[in-house]
C-alpha cells in the first residue's frame, strides 16, 4: 500500500499553507479572522494552536492505541515470555516459580520425530490444505457472484441481500445449523444423498455416512467454512467493482470484446488492488479459524479436521501446559508473519512492474 500518509515531519513552528483540496490540510493553519492586539493573548492563541496541531492528534488516538497495546501487544509479549518457561499446571498459580527453559519448549514441540511433534505437523498440514481450498473457493464464489450481479436485472437487490446473509449471521448460529444438517440420522445432507439420491452408503457409518467424525469431517468443515467466508469476498469485490470506470467496459464493447475477454482484460485487472488485500485477509482468517471447528465438532475436532488453532487450544487447556502451547502459538505467528511479508513483497513487485 503506497499510502500518501506520513511524509517527512515538518520543521517546528512553520505554518504551512496548503491548497484547499490537498489531502493534508492542517485545520488550524487557517488564519483567524481578526488577530487580537494584546501580545499576551496572541501568545496564548499561538500556544493553543500549536497544541491543536501538535499534541491533539496524539491525544485523540491515545485511547485506541493504549487499549490495543494493553489487550493485544502486552499479552503477545507475555506469550512470548511464557513460551520460554516451563509453565505447567504446577506453576500457573505463581509464575515466579516456573523454571526458565529457554528454547526448550520450541525444541520439544517442533521435534517432528516425537508423537506430539508429528501431531502438530499433521495439524499444520491439514490447516494448509483447508486454508488453500477454502480461500480459493470463497474467492471464486465471491468473484462469480460479484461479476454476475454487476449488470442490473430483476431480483438483483434480493440476491445481493441473500448472499450477504451468511456473513451477518453469528458464527455459532450458522455453524450449529450446519451441525444439524450434518447429523447422521436426522440431518438434511444424508437425507438428500442417501434417501433421495441413493449415494454415499457403504462408508464409515454403514448405510449412512458420518459427517462429523472420521474422514468426512474435513469436507464438512470445508463446506461450512466456504459458506461463512465467501460472502465477505463477495462484499469486498462488489465494492471494488463499483470503482471500475464504465468507460473501460464501453471501450471493450466497442472493440467487440466478449464476456470472457471483458472479464480477463478489464474486470480482473481492475480488481487486483482489492484482491491483494482480500486474499491476504481471507488467508489469515481461515488459517487462524477456531470458531468453525470448535462449534461444529463441539470442542474437540476429529483428527482429520484438527486445525492448528484448535490443536493448540486443546493442547493448552486439556493438559494445562501453557508453555508449549505458547511456543506453538509464537511459531504460528512467525509463520504467518513470514507468509505475509513474502506475499506483500511479491504482489507489490508485480504491481509496480504492471
Amino acid at each position: 500500500m503506497n499510502s500518501p500518509y506520513g511524509g517527512p515531519p515538518r520543521p517546528r513552528g512553520v505554518a504551512v499553507v496548503q491548497p484547499r483540496h490537498s489531502a493534508d490540510v492542517r485545520p488550524l493553519a487557517v488564519e483567524q479572522p481578526e488577530p487580537p492586539r494584546d501580545p499576551r493573548s496572541v501568545a496564548r492563541i499561538r500556544r493553543r494552536r500549536r497544541f491543536h496541531t501538535r499534541q491533539l492528534p496524539y491525544l485523540l488516538i491515545l485511547p485506541a492505541v493504549g487499549l490495543e497495546i494493553v489487550i493485544h501487544v502486552v499479552p503477545i509479549l507475555v506469550g512470548m515470555w511464557m513460551s520460554l518457561l516451563e509453565l505447567t499446571q504446577f506453576h500457573i498459580q505463581d509464575w515466579s516459580t516456573a523454571p526458565f527453559v529457554g528454547l526448550g519448549n520450541y525444541t520439544a514441540t517442533l521435534d517432528f520425530t516425537s508423537a506430539a511433534g508429528k501431531d502438530l505437523l499433521h495439524s499444520f498440514g491439514i490447516t494448509i490444505v483447508y486454508t488453500t481450498l477454502s480461500v480459493f473457493l470463497s474467492w471464486l464464489f465471491g468473484t462469480a457472484a460479484a461479476v454476475f450481479l454487476q449488470r442490473p436485472f430483476r431480483g438483483r437487490a434480493l440476491l445481493r441481500t441473500l448472499f450477504l446473509t451468511p456473513y451477518a449471521l453469528p458464527v455459532y448460529a450458522a455453524v450449529i445449523t450446519w451441525g444439524f444438517l450434518f447429523q447422521r440420522d436426522t440431518g438434511l445432507v444424508n437425507h438428500v444423498l442417501v434417501d433421495q439420491l441413493g449415494i454415499g452408503a457403504g462408508g464409515d457409518g454403514g448405510d449412512r455416512p458420518f459427517w462429523l467424525i472420521g474422514s468426512n469431517s474435513f469436507w464438512a468443515l470445508l463446506v461450512v467454512s466456504v459458506w461463512r467466508m465467501w460472502p465477505f469476498a463477495f462484499l469486498c469485490l462488489m465494492a471494488g467493482l463499483q470503482n471500475v470506470p464504465a468507460e473501460l467496459y464501453e471501450a471493450a464493447a466497442i472493440d467487440g470484446a466478449g464476456f470472457w475477454r471483458r472479464l480477463t482484460s478489464v474486470t480482473l485487472p481492475a480488481l487486483r488492488p482489492v484482491n491483494q488485500v482480500l486474499l491476504l485477509v481471507l488467508f489469515l482468517w481461515t488459517f487462524n479459524d477456531f470458531n468453525t471447528p470448535y462449534v461444529l465438532f463441539g470442542g474437540s475436532a476429529p483428527r482429520e479436521a484438527d486445525l492448528i488453532s484448535i490443536h493448540i487450544y486443546n493442547n493448552s487447556f486439556s493438559t494445562w501446559d501453557f508453555g508449549t502451547g505458547s511456543a506453538m502459538s509464537v511459531a504460528l505467528l512467525l509463520f504467518l508473519l513470514l507468509v505475509t511479508a513474502v506475499y506483500l513483497m511479491l504482489t507489490n513487485r508485480r504491481r509496480d512492474h504492471a
Binding site: S3, Y5, H21, V25, R26, P27, V30, P33, H52, L60, P63, A64, L67, I71, H72, V74, P75, I76, M82, I92, A145, F148, L149, R160, T161, L162, F163, L164, P166, L169, P170, Y172, I176, T177, F180, T186, H191, D195, W227, P231, C236, A239, N243, A253, G258, F259, V277, V281, N288, F290, V295, G298, S309, G325, S329, L332, L333, L336, L337, T340
Partner: protein, 279 residues
C-alpha cells in the same frame, strides 16, 4: 452493451447454485424451528408435518437462554458503544492531521488480523486471573472483562471504516467552521459527526456483531453467570437429548437482530469498505 446468450445461461446457473447453497441452511433453520419435536427426531423432512411455535416457548426453559441473551446484549452493546466512541476520535486524528506514526496505521490494522487469537488468549487469560487475585479488579469471568476484550477486536476495522467516511467529507466544511472560530473537537462534533451518521451507525453495528459472534474468548473467559450466547447456545447439544427444533428456534432468535441490522445498513458497509480499501 449487449449480453450474450451464453453469458445469460452462465449467470443463471451460477446464481442459482449460489442461492441454493446459501438458502439451504437458512431454510433448515427456519423450517426446523417451526417443526414439532417428532419431526426433528426422525429422518429429515423438507416439509414440516405441522407448524408450531412450541419450540420458541420451550427453548427458554431447556437452557437459561434469557440470561445468556441478557449477557450478550449487555456485553455487545457496551463493547460497541465504547469501541465507536474511541474509534471516532482516532479516525478524526488520522483523517484530518498529519503526524508522525500515521503511516503505521494501515499496517497496524492488517497486522492485527494476523495474530492468532489463541496466541493472546492464553496470556490474557492468565493476566486477567492474576490481576483479579492481585488487585481485586475482576476481569476474568466477568462481563467487564469481555467488554474490554471485545471492544479492542472491533477497533481496528472501525477506525479504518470511519477514516474512509471522514475522508469523504469535504474539508471545506471543517475550514468554514474553523474560520468561525470552532476548535477542532467542536468541528468534529458539530460538522463531521452529523454528516457521518450513517457511517457511524454502520460501524456501531459492525462492532456489535463482532462482540455478539465471538466464541473463542467467551468459551474461556466466562462462567455460568456471565455466559454469552456464543457459548450458551452450545449448551443445548450437551443435554441428554438434543431438541433440534429448539436449537434452531434459539439460533433464529439470536440471529435476527444482527442480520436485520446488517442487511438494513449493507450499502454503508460497502461504502465503508470501498473508502477504506482503495487507499
Amino acid at each position: 452493451m449487449r449480453e450474450g446468450r451464453g453469458e445469460q445461461i452462465a449467470r443463471w446457473i451460477v446464481l442459482t447454485f449460489l442461492a441454493a447453497f446459501v438458502l439451504t441452511p437458512l431454510y433448515v433453520m427456519v423450517s426446523s424451528a417451526l417443526k414439532p419435536l417428532q419431526d426433528v427426531q426422525d429422518n429429515f423432512t423438507w416439509i414440516p408435518s405441522s407448524l408450531t411455535f412450541q419450540a420458541f416457548i420451550d427453548m427458554w426453559s431447556t437452557v437459561p437462554l434469557g440470561q445468556y441473551l441478557m449477557n450478550s446484549l449487555i456485553v455487545s452493546s457496551a463493547a460497541a458503544l465504547f469501541s465507536v466512541a474511541i474509534a471516532v476520535f482516532a479516525a478524526f486524528a488520522i483523517s484530518r492531521y498529519r503526524f508522525r506514526g500515521r503511516g503505521l496505521f494501515s499496517v497496524a490494522v492488517l497486522s492485527t488480523q494476523m495474530f492468532p487469537g489463541i496466541l493472546f488468549l492464553l496470556p490474557l487469560f492468565l493476566i486477567y486471573v492474576n490481576l483479579g487475585t492481585a488487585t481485586g479488579i475482576e476481569l476474568y469471568q466477568t462481563r467487564l472483562g469481555l467488554v474490554i476484550t471485545y471492544l479492542t477486536f472491533s477497533l481496528p476495522f472501525s477506525i479504518w471504516m470511519l477514516v474512509g467516511y471522514f475522508d469523504s467529507i469535504p474539508r471545506g466544511l471543517d475550514e468554514a467552521a474553523q474560520v468561525d472560530g470552532a476548535s477542532p473537537l467542536r468541528t468534529l462534533f458539530t460538522v463531521i459527526l452529523p454528516t457521518a451518521v450513517p457511517g457511524i451507525v454502520a460501524v456501531t453495528v459492525y462492532a456489535f456483531m463482532t462482540a455478539w459472534g465471538e466464541v473463542l474468548f467467551a468459551s474461556i473467559m466466562t462462567d455460568e453467570s456471565s455466559r454469552t450466547l456464543a457459548v450458551g447456545l452450545q449448551a443445548y447439544s450437551t443435554q441428554f437429548q438434543v431438541y433440534w427444533n429448539q436449537v434452531m428456534a434459539a439460533s433464529l432468535v439470536v440471529s435476527v437482530p444482527v442480520v436485520a441490522g446488517f442487511l438494513a445498513l449493507q450499502r454503508y458497509f460497502v461504502a465503508g469498505l470501498t473508502a477504506g480499501a482503495v487507499k
